[in-house]
Symmetry: C2
Subunit: 192 residues, 2 copies
Amino acid sequence: MKIDTDAKNDTRKRIMDIAEELLLTRGFNAFSYQWVSSELGVRNAAIHYHFPHKTDLGVALIERYRRRLSRFIEAQAALPPREQLERYFELAHSYFRQDRQVCPSGMLCTEFHTLPDAMRDQAAAFIGEMRDWSIDLAARGRDLGVFHYPGSAEEMGVLMFSALQGGLQLARVDDGWLDTVKRQITRLLGVE
Amino acid sequence: MKIDTDAKNDTRKRIMDIAEELLLTRGFNAFSYQWVSSELGVRNAAIHYHFPHKTDLGVALIERYRRRLSRFIEAQAALPPREQLERYFELAHSYFRQDRQVCPSGMLCTEFHTLPDAMRDQAAAFIGEMRDWSIDLAARGRDLGVFHYPGSAEEMGVLMFSALQGGLQLARVDDGWLDTVKRQITRLLGVE
DNA sequence: CGCACTTTACTTACTGGTCAGTAAGCTGTC
DNA sequence: GACAGCTTACTGACCAGTAAGTAAAGTGCG
């Protein structure tokens, strides 16, 4: 039996890790293969070997986000809504702690008009999945009598997602911003 | 007396108008002087005559946003909170209608780490003014008994700003998004 | 086991295109 | 004749992407 996760996959993963950090701090259009290769200590063309076109790298990154999100959702599907909400906030805050990153959806939305088609499709699917999860959380919390808010679960889920995305970006300019957003969302959910 | 708003100021204004559209659709890093000059029907260097460095153009754009915002705030300072809220929503929606633009603060936040210092300073000031106005609206609405929400005016103002910024971006992927956010904010403000 | 062959994971060296920015010249108006 | 508002022509840097070569590891076979 062959150990498949050797040099190739390791380099590939390290490229994606470096590219991910650059994507979430600077944006897809604001980093080049040079940035990745010099950080990794290889030549430019080595990146092209693993990801022939920059689009391939971008698509691979979003696909990975989607897999992670799917695992994240599954891993905490059984938790009570209050804890799920806490994890949702923690997810957002972990981006902020890491060099004031924004969430992938926020970066991909603002760069949307400049992205290649394949990346747009992936981004739209990813955002749809984020949206659905946020709505599910709002719905489940209300059904279990933990959240008390006006309007539908869809409206509340969409609002929470929007506020966290915006809040994470605005936190770059004002440290306390994200905490304020988290606090107010919690209050608006009527959690005692 | 000389009519000052002649060729120079006219070209300068047209450059800024074209650059503004590019900024809000593609982002500051994703358009070049070539894009502006070809749209305007002049040569590259003509743009450099009016704005020697791209940073100068960026700063001028944000300064203009700040002047506009200040006029916007002044023009409707006396309106009842419900109407002020409506105008706030309309401001956001007018961006969306125009080629799915995002609001300036959203674009500047996500590109923040790549912007020159002078632009960052302007962006931070602009966002601070937006924030203050949103908070004032929440405070005045509550004081006049029109809005009924939990938490402080600061928290509610910051949340509204965040949700509109995020919602405007996410509307690029899903047409109805912004309307949903507007509806839910209105509900959460306890407006009957 | 040992030798030939193939594949993997790169390298060096390059292309054509775009970028911001500059220098020098031209033209029409006060 | 001075200056505003351009133009043409250019520079050096960076960009994504490619082609050809190489060293080492893996594979098939006698």
